[in-house]
């Protein structure tokens, strides 16, 4: 399973999201590879992904994708991440 975190630069915010998504997956007992990327490379990086985690601002720019696009409001809220990941993957 592959999860891609998306932000404008591919560092920073998507990195925070990657780190905390990995922690949420561990809590849920799920394993997946989590990759941080920038919005410009989303179509290539997320071509084989099941889930894209991002902010509301990028949903439109991500465009058509087979992956579930999940919007995270508070990147530091482990409960929000775990609930949304569980719903998408469960």
């Amino acid at each position: 399973m592959k999860i891609v975190t998306i932000c404008g630069a591919g560092i920073g915010t998507s990195g925070i999201l990657k780190v905390n998504a990995e922690r949420a997956l561990q809590r849920l007992g799920l394993s997946a590879s989590v990759v941080a990327a920038d919005i410009a490379s989303v179509q290539r990086v997320a071509a084989d992904a099941q889930v894209i985690l991002t902010s509301e601002e990028f949903v439109e720019a991500i465009g058509a994708t087979r992956a579930d696009v999940i919007v995270i409001e508070n990147y530091f809220d482990g409960d929000e991440l775990a609930e949304k990941l569980e719903r998408a993957l469960g």
């Binding site: 404008g8 990657k18 780190v19 720019a61 508070n74």
Partner: protein, 154 residues
């Protein structure tokens, strides 16, 4: 990259900013002053918000200002700005912002140690309000090292 000890010049507490642009610029100035970036990086951080919107407001009260790695980053580093009065970034859930973290990374894959440490500190919900109220650099450093509960009670 793990978090280098924050230089005094990278921590600016209780400053005034008229708007989000000035708040991000202050975080950029602190990166420049502590020798991490050139002023072009500051402009690039502002451009990220102009281009993509206020997505850098990743939690209530906190903005993580950053741009792409590149020649305008001289070395990896962080800056911390707290605002005397919070400013609106136009974020749907996390406004207003009273803490701006500036992040500079020389290489794309080198920054995950630093963001993991930021996550360690801020996964504690008390950390952002405690940092917003910090009055000394020592207090700010302690919160970023993951000791926010102690700091909040101090």
């Amino acid at each position: 990259m793990s978090l280098p000890a924050l230089a005094d010049r990278a921590i600016v507490l209780g400053v005034q900013a008229r708007d989000w642009r000035e708040a991000v610029r202050l975080a950029g100035d602190a990166l420049v002053d502590s020798g991490c970036t050139t002023t072009e990086y500051t402009e690039a951080m502002i451009r990220m918000v102009d281009d993509h919107g206020p997505y850098i407001v990743i939690a209530p009260g906190l903005a993580l200002a950053h741009a792409r790695p590149g020649a305008d980053v001289r070395r990896d580093g962080l800056s911390v700005i707290t605002l005397a009065a919070p400013v609106e970034f136009g974020h749907a859930h996390n406004d207003p912002v009273s803490v701006v973290i500036g992040l500079a990374s020389a290489a794309a894959d080198a920054h995950l140690g630093a963001v993991a440490q930021l996550a360690n500190a801020f996964n504690d919900p008390a950390a952002i309000p405690a940092l917003a109220k910090a009055t000394t650099r020592e207090e700010a450093r302690r919160i970023l090292d993951g000791g926010s509960t102690v700091a909040a009670g101090a």
